[in-house]
């Protein structure tokens, strides 16, 4: 059923804070280990001890460097990338079998591993590189937003969140309903100027990214400069020592 739902009751997704992510890969390996035994099981790796180890990962962490305009200073940005669970994803509509679909209930884009034929066309249609082919399984794999965790009654309610979000040590990943403007994630997006990746492609990603904050490496208002060396430093210290005595 590759026809997209007209609307979804919720728009579950992630908000990723690029100002806080240190690139520790916790979300990447937590994703791999949950999904290799969860909904996407297994995420089969190739040549694990050899020259070309690789396999499907549903979340990968890029490193970018942004140069300031003067070319001198720069910023390193760690950039986790996974499925954005678009509102109008082409990866779903191109699917010939209906294995790829968007859930009407919560907007999660999923692949049905029982009907996917592994034609890879969805990966061609996705601009975000979110879909990876599993050579051993012969089907496509992608972020499920941990659909088998977020509703999983075997977990305590506070653990019902995607593995990547639960793992993230810095708290750079947030999960929630981006369709509800009062939700914490929506408020965060509003407050921090959350943005879409490749908005011009028109797929309306649900996941949002929060931009790095401005650096604070210039003089700030309200902070006085310290006095210049004028040879009277010792006097000042002695006066300070005297004040201590009077306060005693």
């Amino acid at each position: 059923m590759t026809a997209l739902p007209q609307t979804t009751a919720k728009k579950l997704g992630l908000v990723i804070d690029l100002d806080t992510c240190v690139g520790c890969q916790a979300c990447a390996t937590s994703c791999k280990e949950w999904n290799t035994q969860g909904y996407s099981a297994p995420l089969a790796d190739e040549d694990t001890r050899g020259a070309d180890p690789h396999g499907p990962w549903l979340n990968r962490i890029h490193g970018y460097e942004v140069e300031d305009t003067n070319g001198k200073d720069s910023r390193v940005v760690h950039f986790p990338r996974s499925c954005l669970h678009c509102e109008t994803p082409a990866c779903v509509t191109v699917c010939p079998t209906g294995a790829s679909y968007k859930r009407a209930e919560d907007g999660i884009v999923l692949i049905n591993p029982d009907t996917c034929i592994g034609c890879k066309l969805c990966s061609w249609a996705c601009p975000y590189g979110a879909r990876e082919y599993d050579v051993q399984e012969g089907v496509m794999k992608k972020c499920t937003l941990c659909v088998d965790r977020i509703y999983n009654e075997n977990f305590e309610p506070e653990d019902r969140q995607p593995a990547c979000v639960k793992a993230c040590p810095t708290g750079a990943r947030h999960f929630g309903d981006l369709g509800d403007e009062n939700s914490a994630v929506s408020q965060l997006v509003k407050a921090r100027g959350g943005f879409d990746l490749l908005p011009e492609m028109g797929y309306k990603p649900t996941n949002k990214y929060l931009p790095p904050r401005a650096k604070r490496d210039t003089p700030q208002a309200g902070i006085e400069a310290l006095p210049k060396g004028d040879g009277s430093a010792m006097d000042r210290l002695f006066k300070l020592a005297d004040r201590l005595l009077s306060g005693n």
Binding site: M1, T20, V22, G23, C24, Q25, A26, T29, S30, K32, W34, Q37, Y39, D45, T48, R49, G50, A51, P53, H54, W57, I61, G63, E65, E67, K72, S74, V76, L110, D114, T115, D148, Y151, N152, N154, E156, D159, A163, K166, P169, T170, G171, R216, D217, G222, I223, E224, A225, L226, P227, A233, M234, R236, L237, K239, A241, D242, L244, L245, N248
Partner: protein, 937 residues
């Protein structure tokens, strides 16, 4: 249209969850291990655990691949070919243990110090150190000598705590955080979580690091300091603050030795020591009485500054007077240091102003009354919310001890230690400065078949505590606690193989190591290290290091150079305790410890090293490990020891659930059900201090009394910060010719310079000794976020993330050197040359090149195929780093270490970088492929 497929939303993919403690790095987070049919299927963070509170890192979540690694060893091995040939024979444990017992027994009954027992990333030093003591050898240490002893010692000799893992920034209240040289080191998840909190609160985070990745990438300000010059940067900030009088005089006067009087008597044997009264008590100057009074006189009008004359005529100055005089000198001004440290003078001035502003104008006040050690009641806790933290970038330099002391001086001048928003102690710290444990191993302390009278490692306070042979030469094989490195509180593992092979100061018979890849990524100067490991005595034809016993869980490079291999379990297969007696996991809010429990049984013929050690101890009849009847005291192995061993009456490895009924904490009789109590509690124990004990612990009467009762400290006495470090002056006086124990002449100048009781900066030795024009660049490593040493970089998941490394170089500098992105380059030091592939970036100090550490592997090891990129494109800087400094005048080659602590100075490396004539896609040097010893799959 068909309906959506039905998705199983509540699958239970496990049939059991067990808690334990992670060991994917030194952070020691609580984890939950999910099992299905006895197989580990998923690992995540334990939400109730004090360290990680539910989160997990990139390493921890890849633990499954560590546990099921094809690189694991599976059976005891004994060497049958030459060392390095990979020719081993599988043997049974009984044969392995008998062999080890014979070898070790022969040493013990002749000369116990001919056993060198060194453990690597050991988290059971409480046991291993005690075992060495019982064996009777002083030649014991873990890997701290090349890790962080500079940090540990500087802190313990200054404020009775330390960066490293003995304290943490007050993430809740700090408003300004200065981080020096930290890249995914200790406290990995707590630091990440802390940074997240700072970001949420909008606190300012400044990272001082030549490299702008990881934590530094998200800093509000990056200070791209030149390696080894942090001390200049910090000194200039201190200069600025003193010049402006922006210091917490009250804190200095009350809680530090700033007002203590120092004798000014140049050339005399008491010069630079504290003036003391007839009772031996240190003195302060009472400005009202205009005389010296004991420091215990809390009502004295203490002069913070000044030079005075004592009634006996001796001239004195307050400690702080001396500090101020030093740091106010023009050579500490920002303009004087900017060029050498690479930080603009305006930046230094601005940061100093920001620190002063936050410390003194944005104070944090908690409405929590408390009483200080003098009995004075404080209605509130007033904090100066500036926190600092530091690690390898400070530690791994030959000036690291003094640089770290300078950072502590800065913290203390601002009045930030253990105040709200500052840097907080974690139990068992604060402890007396330095802790009251002396190293053991003097000639009259080592006897055949006898234990040492005390632990091998401790804290010296003067030349009389050094471990010297009768001729003044080093007593220890690593030369720790000798004039080469008097305060080598963690030993010097990096020197053991070199010294043993050179029989300097003497030859050994057995080298026994655990979990330390000393023939590869943990060694400096690998090519020579391999020669040392295989060197033979010309007359006997025997190996110069005759017997090497090694225990490891994995087929590491070191396995190939050992004679007897004792295969260890993985971290999910064993018992462990994370003990307050060792390197605890306490929080600033209270003491904590934890255990590991086996969550799966090994399917290989391997045994936990700690249990093997106890077994060997019993076979050797070591006193602590044998009953009076000659039976094993801990027949149940390590778990038996964890529960029943008592270091002092009522004090054991674990502090929680003590007493027969398990209701006591800290002290209490062994509880036979203690381990089950831990398991029931998620494998950890935590005691939260009451609010009035949470801050100012070093001078907090209530806390000090509680800590004494709990067994953390001996007496409820205040821990007065030692800005002026008198023990250093004692060594200096000896070098100047005073006292009975004096260094050899060749050492005197070095001791006199380095053992300054007031922190100062000196250039790292390597840069000072080699031609800077020939080696103009610095080369350092960073620990990748997702890997902890060689054992992490062989992980089948993690090696997909980083299967090789590059040499990162500043774009601008690369252009000048004619190096393009992707070019293969040679990196040359005075020691050797390597070849690696260059990657250009902006976020690196232009005088610095760097790479990720411990990724380069030797072909054929760790269960990897011989053409693995780790071996063919990966490389190590270790080949370039000498364990010895270039010759000094007189020809002696000092260890490439901090002269105070013996900390290996592997960040001092100086190199030149050139485009390689050989652009083939292969790194250098390449070593012959080793035979794969891993269990495979």
């Amino acid at each position: 249209m068909s309906s959506e497929p039905v998705v199983a939303l509540s699958p239970k993919t496990w049939d059991e969850i067990k808690t334990t403690t992670c060991y994917m790095c030194a952070c020691r987070c609580g984890i939950k291990v999910y099992l299905k049919d006895g197989t580990v299927t998923y690992i995540d963070g334990n939400r109730d655990h004090p360290v990680n509170k539910g989160v997990i890192c990139g390493k921890g979540a890849a633990g499954i691949k560590q546990h099921y690694s094809p690189g694991r060893l599976s059976k005891p091995l004994i060497r049958v070919g030459e060392r390095g040939s990979g020719e081993f024979r599988e043997i049974e444990w009984e044969e392995a243990l008998q062999t080890a017992t014979t070898w070790l027994g022969n040493v013990r009954k002749t000369d116990p110090k001919k056993l060198a027992f060194f453990t690597g990333r050991d988290q059971s030093q409480g046991l291993t150190g005690w075992w060495a003591t019982q064996f009777g050898t002083p030649n014991y240490a873990a890997h701290g000598g090349f890790c962080s002893v500079n940090m540990a010692a500087a802190g313990l000799y200054t404020f009775g705590g330390s960066f490293w893992e003995f304290g943490e920034p007050d993430w809740k209240y700090t408003k300004y955080f200065l981080l020096f040289g930290v890249a995914e080191d200790h406290g990995s998840n707590p630091i990440k979580a802390g940074l997240g909190k700072l970001k949420k609160r909008g606190a300012k985070f400044v990272s001082v690091n030549p490299i702008k990745t990881g934590y530094s990438a998200i800093a509000d300000e990056w200070v791209g300091v030149r390696p080894g010059t942090d001390g200049l940067f910090v000194g200039a900030i201190i200069h600025e603050l003193l010049n402006a009088g922006q210091i917490d005089g009250d804190y200095l006067n009350r809680y530090t030795n700033s007002p203590w009087l120092v004798i000014d008597n140049k050339g005399a044997a008491d010069h630079g020591l504290f003036a003391r009264d007839e009772n031996g008590e240190t003195l302060v100057w009472d400005a009202h009485k205009k005389t010296a009074v004991p420091t215990s006189d809390h009502n004295a009008a203490r002069a913070l500054m000044g030079r005075f004359t004592l009634p006996d005529g001796r001239k004195v100055a307050t400690s702080f007077q001396l500090i101020a005089e030093r740091y106010l000198s023009a050579d500490h001004a920002p303009d004087a240091v900017t060029e050498r440290c690479g930080v603009p003078a305006d930046t230094i001035r601005r940061i100093a102003a920001e620190l002063a502003h936050v410390a003194f104008k944005e104070t944090v006040t908690l409405n929590v009354p408390w009483t200080d050690f003098t009995g004075r009641r404080h209605e509130t806790m007033i904090g100066r919310p500036v926190a600092m933290h530091a690690m390898r970038g400070i530690s791994a330099h030959a000036n690291g001890f003094q640089t770290c002391r300078a950072i502590h001086l800065l913290q203390i001048m601002l009045g930030t230690i253990d105040t709200p928003g500052g840097f907080r102690y974690k139990a068992p710290y604060p402890r007396p400065i330095p802790p009251h444990i002396k190293p053991t191993g003097k000639p009259d302390q080592i006897w055949p078949n006898e234990p040492l009278p005390g632990p091998p490692l401790g804290f010296v306070t003067g030349p009389e505590d050094l471990l010297l042979a009768d001729d003044g030469s080093p007593q220890r094989i690593d030369k720790a606690y000798s004039w080469d490195a008097p305060i080598a509180a963690h030993g010097m593992m990096h020197m053991v193989i070199t010294n043993a092979a050179k029989r300097d100061p003497y030859g050994i018979d057995v080298l026994f190591m655990y979990m330390a890849n000393m023939s590869w990524n943990s060694a400096m100067n690998i090519p020579d290290t391999l020669k040392y490991l295989t060197a033979k005595d010309e007359t006997t034809g025997e190996y110069v290091i005759p017997k090497i016993i090694y225990s490891d869980a994995y087929a590491s490079e070191m396995v190939h150079y050992a004679d007897l291999i004792l295969p260890d379990t993985t971290y999910l297969e064993r018992w462990d305790c994370i003990s307050l007696l060792d390197r605890p996991i306490s929080e600033a809010d209270g003491p904590a410890d934890s255990i590991r429990q086996p969550v799966v049984e090994p399917e290989r013929d391997v045994r936990a090293f700690q249990s093997v050690l106890l077994d060997l101890g019993a076979r050797l009849k070591l006193p602590g490990m044998t009953t009076p009847e000659g039976q094993a005291r801990y027949p149940g192995g390590y778990p038996d020891y964890i529960v029943n061993h008592e270091r002092a009456p009522g004090v054991g490895p674990l502090a929680g659930f003590r007493g027969v009924d398990g209701t006591q904490s800290g002290k209490g009789a062994p509880n036979p059900n203690q381990l089950q109590a831990y398991i029931d509690n998620g494998c950890h124990w935590f005691y939260e201090l009451p609010d009035e004990h949470k801050y100012f612990k070093h001078v907090n009467k209530g806390y000090l009394e509680w800590a004494t009762g709990f067994g953390l400290i001996g007496k409820p006495e205040p821990i007065i910060h030692q800005l002026y470090c008198e023990p250093l002056q004692k060594f200096r006086l000896a070098a100047e010719g005073h006292g009975a124990i004096q260094p050899p002449d060749g050492h005197r100048a070095r001791i006199i310079e380095a053992f300054d009781p007031i922190p100062f900066w000196y250039p790292p030795f390597e840069g000072d000794l080699v031609d800077e024009a020939a080696f103009p660049m610095h080369a350092v490593t960073q620990r990748p976020m997702a890997m902890y040493h060689a054992w992490g970089s062989q992980n089948s998941w993690l090696r997909q993330i980083l299967g090789r490394n590059w040499l990162y170089i500043a774009k601008e500098r690369a252009a000048k050197l004619g190096i393009a992105d992707g070019d293969w380059v040679t990196v040359t030091s005075h020691q050797g040359q390597i070849k690696g592939q260059a990657k250009l970036m902006n976020g690196v100090n232009p005088d610095t090149v760097w790479t990720w550490n411990a990724i380069g592997k030797r072909s054929g090891t760790w269960g990897l195929k011989k053409d693995a990129p780790e071996a063919k494109q990966g490389f190590l800087l270790n080949h370039l780093i000498s364990e010895l400094l270039p010759k000094r005048d007189g020809g002696y080659r000092f260890s490439n270490s901090d002269p105070v602590t013996g900390q290996a100075a592997w960040y001092d490396l100086r190199v030149r970088v050139e485009k390689s004539a050989d652009q083939s896609n292969i790194s250098g040097p390449q070593f012959p492929t080793l035979k794969n010893l891993g269990v495979g799959q």
